[in-house]
Amino acid sequence: MTTERAPQPTTAAANPPIQPMASNLLPSDVVRASAMRDLPAPERQLTKVAKLIDVSRCIGCKACQSACIEWNDTHPDVEENVGVYENPHDLTPEMFTLMRFTEYANPETHELEWLIRKDGCMHCEDPGCLTACPAPGAIVQYSNGIVDFISDNCIGCGYCVAGCPFDIPRIHKTAHVSKKCTLCSDRVAVGQGPACAKACPTQAIVFGTKDEMIAHAEMRIEDLKERGYEKAGLYDPQGVGGTHVMYVLHHADKPSLYADLPDDPKISAVVKGWKGAAKDVGLAAMGIAAVGAMAHGALARANEVSAHDDAEAQEMVAHAAERLAVEPQEAARPQEGAP
């Protein structure tokens, strides 16, 4: 069997190689893993990849959603129509990507714009999910930038939900593991682009190296500006170190127009505090207290009851008993300094 390593993918449009190929995304390509501090240094650096979603080109057909379901073999529930275009109503453990629709009455042009954004994991360079996760190796980041959830290591605690600035991970109700877009890491590993990008009929979703995608975005932005979208721009938020899923937005000055895409996402300071200093300081405080208590217990003089105390007690009880015998009612009252 040929076990030549697959090439790194350059574009989603290219047809896949037809001969069998070994995965080119190796455990040694993991550069960060949740709750694991000292990873061995990777032997090589993969080219950074990115998926670029050009919102201005999307027609809302949901071919990408279907392709994602197909490729990942998920089974989203059939839901009720409640009069909105989102289907299903939210990201779920079975639906890793979702077209979100916004009707925007542009106050400058007085035109109604239909903004359609493909929501899903942004594959942050600095992933909040990975920062928050307590289970070693449940979330990994490869040197090409893909952030992947490894279900075998996931314990289903939901900390990643709190960690993610984009509200992406969803915990599976029966499998009790966290799920999200994988950036088709299993396809990328064998030289193919993501299924959603492959399926997109308008090439609103393209995939390639991050540099190429930025260059491609610039062309698109130029085009949009010529067509009157002066604020057109690239969404590659630096608050999370940039992302490996980027958007071309017509209104890049107001990302939140697009179904609450965060204007300036970053890992919450609360999460950073909780997962940063609090852990080490807390552990140290508890450790010192425990060791200190044991050492003090072993070395210091204990607080012993003396023979004198025993004798005093004996006398107090005997004396009280006498009083009880003599004047039962009196003795029952509290005495000596008691209020």
């Binding site: 070693p136 003396s306 005495q335």
Partner: protein, 229 residues
């Protein structure tokens, strides 16, 4: 006929007179205490496993990560109700009293083990009261924040920003609870003769005289059996 108790709880009494032994906790209270204590230890071990990567191996004690994640909140619920029963039995005698301030002001003497110069105390000293109220507050905070971050049964109970605060507060309270737990265990061991109050249920007369004299005095002044109780 009733004799008002000021410094003692129902069931506290002089058990034997020669030598003096005093019963401090009834069987049911001791059982209640040990259920609480072992649940607490389980919670600390399972919680710490998730708290710090270097302690994740503790999940092995509970049969792995997912089981730990599942079991921890259930133990939390058990702890809450178990502690609640203890709380109901003990809160009254843990209310702060005037002598507590004086005792605290002379905490140095306490540490030196020279209690002769200190005010006479009822069933609990200020240190014990601090442990009691500290734990009560922290357990309340932990049950509230714990439910807020309980993914399995309450996934969308609070918004994500609130959830972030809840998990941080939960972790900080847990650290504080562990510190109080250490103080509690240490004090029980350092003050010799205390452990038996929670094992056999009784303490010696000398122990009661030395540490909780008002409590002993009240019990000494009471008839042995009290039909009103």
């Amino acid at each position: 006929m009733t004799e008002e108790r000021q410094y003692s709880a129902p069931g506290d009494e002089i058990e034997t007179r020669k030598p003096v032994t005093v019963s401090r906790y009834r069987g049911i209270t001791r059982l209640n205490h040990w259920v609480t204590a072992f649940t607490m230890i389980g919670l600390i071990l399972s919680g710490m496993a998730l708290f710090h990567p270097s302690l994740y191996f503790l999940t092995g004690l509970f049969g792995g990560g997912p089981t730990t994640r599942w079991l921890h909140p259930l133990m939390g619920i058990l702890l809450f109700f178990s502690f609640l029963l203890l709380f109901l039995q003990m809160w009254r005698l843990n209310l702060p009293k005037r002598e507590d301030a004086e005792w605290l002001a002379n905490i140095k003497e306490v540490v030196k083990g020279e209690e002769e110069n200190l005010p006479e105390l009822g069933k609990y000293n200020a240190g014990q009261k601090f442990v009691f109220w500290g734990m009560s507050g922290l357990i309340l905070v932990m049950i509230v924040t714990g439910v807020m971050i309980w993914e399995q049964y309450f996934p969308g109970l609070v918004s994500i920003p609130v959830r972030r605060v809840a998990v941080a507060v939960h972790a900080l309270s847990a650290v504080a609870a562990v510190l109080i737990f250490i103080v509690h265990v240490y004090a029980a061991i350092w003050t010799r003769g205390t452990i038996r109050a929670m094992t056999r249920g009784t303490v010696t007369g000398g122990w009661a005289y030395r540490h909780h004299r008002k409590w002993l005095r009240e019990l000494a002044g009471r008839r042995k059996t009290d039909p009103a109780e």
